[in-house]
Symmetry: C2
Subunit: 149 residues, 2 copies
């Protein structure tokens, strides 16, 4: 009952980038601030670009920037890219025809929760994540660095 690592990473990346949303961030910089394996981070960034969440700038002094104002990017938008299953209507038993056919006994309960989740995801924008503040992310990194001192 949680999101996969790819979603987690994407939320972290975009959350961090929304702190200064007009800035171009290189993969290098993101790697220094977020705890995500460098190659995988790179892969993710290209994916997020290809799916229109980021604009990428190639060549020297290139990098990535949010493609839209942070307040126009919802968590839902992000998750649509990173989780490929349809999570709007799913039967807790995993029966194919449950969502639209015969309902299982606890379907209504489960549906209510799904709706609450979806609503939350659609209502929450990256703007809201700014409040995390840079120190939130950076502290993680420093923690690792200071260990080596």
């Amino acid at each position: 009952m949680n999101f996969n690592k790819t979603t987690e990473y994407s939320l972290r990346i975009l959350g961090f980038m929304s702190i200064e949303e007009d800035k171009i961030y290189s993969a290098e910089v993101l790697n220094e601030n977020l705890e995500i394996p460098f190659r995988y981070l790179r892969k993710q960034l290209t994916k997020l670009s290809n799916n229109g969440l980021l604009t990428s700038y190639r060549g020297k002094s290139g990098g990535y920037m949010l493609s839209k104002p942070s307040k126009e990017i919802t968590l839902w938008d992000i998750i649509e890219v990173t989780e490929d299953i349809d999570h709007t209507h799913q039967c807790i038993f995993g029966f194919e025809d449950c969502a639209f056919g015969q309902r299982c006994a606890i379907h209504h309960k489960w549906e209510k929760i799904q709706e609450a989740i979806n609503e939350m995801l659609k209502d929450t924008t990256l703007e809201e994540l700014k409040r995390i503040g840079p120190q939130r992310f950076i502290s993680q990194h420093n923690l690792m660095l200071t260990k080596n001192v």
Copy 2:
């Protein structure tokens, strides 16, 4: 954002068994009624037994039975066996220290949903699943059989 197959299967198994909760069901019978690969089903059943949700009877005319009245087994009990992560307090960003340390901006929203889920899981017992009725499960199977006619 959903449960793994193992959880799904377990809910299906126990849901089906709660229809006639005093009956002993063999793996064979369960396999005829639920769409779960036989070997994997067997494995699951042993696991559910080892974790106290089912009582197993070995030898001829053996099988499995709910270890407690269905109204005393919650979905939570089941999920505790089948999903090994701690899903009570998790940061949507996957930061280790988020749950009890510095909170991320949307943590409270996420926490509310988690609580709703947990509450639902703890409140719902297998008793409630009886209402699915046998035809709910069996129809799935018949669907496959009739295809071959």
